[in-house]
């Protein structure tokens, strides 16, 4: 007998009579959202919650975006910036740092020497202050936003902002690898003192972009 059969057999024996197939639907009396259904208020909530978990949050219009990205990188003193291959080209239009587009061959060791990474996202969740990356357009492979110490992430409002976790999941494709990010990496393992940044990017900057 294989262990598979053994385990499945043990489960069936443990359960006894097979449960009737027609069951009551599971109780889902919780709320779909706890946030206001109004784009400006939702964006404010996202802003507050991101900042509360110590992401640095900036706002600008789509017209201002290239200048703001350039400014953030310059302030940081970034010399090399990694980007996904399909980042909208104008986003880096004003950037002077050396650009490294990931063609699929960038290694973790190479990225370890890169100062910053700039990406878009799949969506952002206002109630929890979360940014979701799903390796979709403008986001690149997972290691791109993991190894460099400085991550600049662009969120387009209102279309990429959802209120809650229940509203986020239906918009995400389970087949894609996902990283949900809520503030920079942190630990409270030493006497419960919160320390920002252990292994992921220690600085997370979020640009909330609205149409001009």
């Amino acid at each position: 007998m294989t262990s598979r059969d053994l385990i499945l057999g043990r489960i069936r024996a443990a359960l006894g009579e097979p449960a009737p197939p027609e069951e009551q639907p599971l109780p889902r009396h919780y709320l779909t959202t706890h946030a206001p259904d109004e784009p400006a208020a939702l964006l404010d909530l996202l802003h507050r919650n991101l900042a509360d978990y110590r992401a640095r949050v900036h706002r600008c219009t789509d017209v201002e975006l290239p200048a703001r990205i350039a400014e953030l990188l310059a302030t940081r003193g970034t010399r090399t910036v990694a980007v996904p291959p399909d980042l909208p080209p104008d986003w880096l239009g004003a950037v002077t740092a050396e650009r490294l587009a990931d063609d699929g061959t960038l290694t973790a060791a190479r990225l370890d020497a890169v100062d910053s990474v700039v990406t878009g996202c799949a969506l952002a969740i206002a109630e929890t202050g979360t940014i979701v990356l799903d390796a979709g357009p403008g986001q690149g492979r997972r290691l791109l936003t993991l190894v460099p110490d400085h991550h600049v992430c662009v969120v387009r409002a209102p279309e990429q902002v959802v209120a809650s976790v229940p509203l986020a999941l239906p918009r995400l494709d389970p087949a894609r690898p996902q990283t949900w990010i809520s503030g920079p990496s942190a630990t409270s393992d030493i006497e419960l003192d919160r320390v920002e940044g252990v292994h992921g990017p220690r600085t997370l900057e979020v640009l909330l972009v609205t149409p001009a």
């Binding site: 599971l26 999941l169 942190a186 393992d189």
Partner: protein, 471 residues
């Protein structure tokens, strides 16, 4: 479970030691109270917490009732997405599978992201016996590993260590495991975290094989979910070529949608955050992104025995948030190590004896390591009635009779009863917690409780009984 913790003294002796250790108690008290208060605020933000909790309980119960079906579905989904599924009936088989998978890569090192299942089966020790070094990468687990120590809390496993001790461990031991601690390392948490970052980064960049657990597995899609804070999980799940995840069979949930419940319940109940810093979700393998080989090892190791017990089965709903530890007056004084397994606190008191059986003194004593105050039930995000299971397991211990077991058990009860502060705390909590307490005390206390309901029981008579009957 394997012998990781064999040779552990029964609960009362181990607890006694902890109670005498002033530093440990101060650390524990600070930790549990801090998280407890933060958690209450995070939960209070959601007006529908009770409904989320009810849904979490219902989804888990439903899954357990159809566990065979959902595991088969999960296997199909993971396989279709490019993963390979292995079934391990016990710890030994799981360790064998992992060791063989690592051997097949010709590597002798693996990086690990904190996983209770792999601690439960003693994977690191089993790999070491095969010439494979497993590096723990969670900061707290690193502290535990470098200090040759044992975890004492689910969420903050090194909570029994203060910063000066951690500095010492890093300064003395890091060099033996890889990159040494920086010269002149102080005990500031930021510096200690930086030392860990540097020490582990070279391991992440070099690692070809990672071992993880998972918080959830989605049957419908084959997706695994790891919830974490530091980013070491992302490193392990993304950089190596081969990923091996060892996960208990009870971690499956039916649908993608079900995550909307657990991704709200877990962070708030565990780290008291709206959302934890990083959550990774992956489905099989993705070409050009992350590991090219993914193995899922489904672990039984006693879980089906728990499933067979209709009262005890609810322990399998546990999502390992650790909230029950932080409100437990016994845990706060006894510390995590007293529970003699990787699962400390109230959940350990009901899970360990069911997974391992009640044939060793420490396991037989665990159901008595409680004052039945009910605070654990109150905070549990999946509404596990821990006191109910404790009482049920006490019956089991008593029925099996035999002296060493019963003595150990009674000694544990005695431990709780001999520390009046515990009972006072318990009673205070009980007053404003649940209406439904176990109606009768089983075992030695039974004759006395037969005639009355437990909630009205004043502490004094039981203590009197105790003094008369103590071994």
């Amino acid at each position: 479970m394997t012998g990781t913790f064999l040779g552990m003294p029964a609960f009362p002796q181990a607890a006694e030691r902890a109670v005498r250790d002033g530093q440990l108690r101060a650390n524990l008290r600070h930790a549990t109270h801090t998280i407890r208060d933060k958690r209450a605020r995070a939960v209070a933000e959601l007006p529908d917490w009770a409904e989320l909790r009810a849904a979490g309980k219902a989804i888990k119960d439903h899954t357990l009732r159809h566990l065979d079906r959902y595991l088969v579905q999960l296997e199909e989904s993971v396989t279709a997405a490019g993963g390979t599924v292995h079934w391990a009936a016990d710890a030994e088989e799981a360790n064998r599978i992992v060791a063989d998978l690592v051997h097949a890569t010709a590597e002798t090192e693996v990086v690990k992201v904190k996983s209770m299942a792999t601690q439960e089966i003693g994977l690191n020790e089993a790999l070491a016996a095969e010439g494979i070094t497993a590096y723990e990468t969670d900061l707290a687990e690193l502290i535990v590993q470098l200090g040759d120590d044992r975890p004492s809390h689910i969420l903050v496993p090194a909570i029994h260590r203060n910063r000066a001790e951690i500095r010492e461990i890093f300064a003395e031991r890091m060099a033996d495991w890889g990159r040494p601690a920086p010269e002149g390392l102080t005990d500031s948490p930021a510096e200690l975290a930086e030392a860990a970052r540097l020490h582990l980064r070279e391991k992440f960049l070099r690692a070809q094989v990672a071992v993880s657990g998972a918080n959830f597995m989605v049957a419908e899609t084959g997706t695994l979910v790891v919830v974490e804070s530091e980013g070491n999980g992302r490193m392990c799940l993304t950089l190596p070529r081969t990923l091996i995840s060892v996960v208990g069979i009870e971690k499956v949930v039916p649908t993608w949608r079900d995550l909307e419940v657990f991704l709200q319940l877990l962070p708030r109940s565990s780290t008291a955050e709206r959302m934890n810093p990083y959550t990774s979700l992956w489905t099989g393998t993705t070409a050009g992104d992350g590991p090219s080989e993914f193995h899922l090892v489904l672990l039984d190791n006693g879980r089906t025995a728990v499933l067979a017990d209709q009262v005890g089965r609810q322990a399998l709903r546990c999502i390992r948030c650790s909230a029950c530890l932080n409100v437990c007056p016994v845990y706060e004084r006894a510390g995590g190590h007293a529970y003699g397994s990787v699962y400390p606190g109230p959940i350990g008191a009901i899970l360990t004896p069911q997974l391992r059986g009640t044939t060793s003194p420490v396991d037989a004593s665990l159901p008595y390591a409680s004052s039945l105050c009910g605070a654990c039930y109150d905070v549990c995000p999946v509404a596990i009635d821990i006191p109910e299971v404790l009482v049920h397991l006490r019956e089991r211990v008593t029925e099996q009779g035999g002296h060493p077991m019963e003595r150990a058990a009674i000694a544990a009860a005695g431990y709780v009863l001999d520390h009046p502060a515990l009972l006072t705390a318990a009673e205070r909590l009980a007053g404003r917690t649940r209406a439904l307490h176990p109606r009768r005390l089983p075992g030695p206390g039974r004759a006395w409780t037969d005639t009355r309901d437990l909630p009205e029981v004043p502490a004094e008579p039981f203590r009197d009984w105790w003094r008369k009957n103590r071994p």
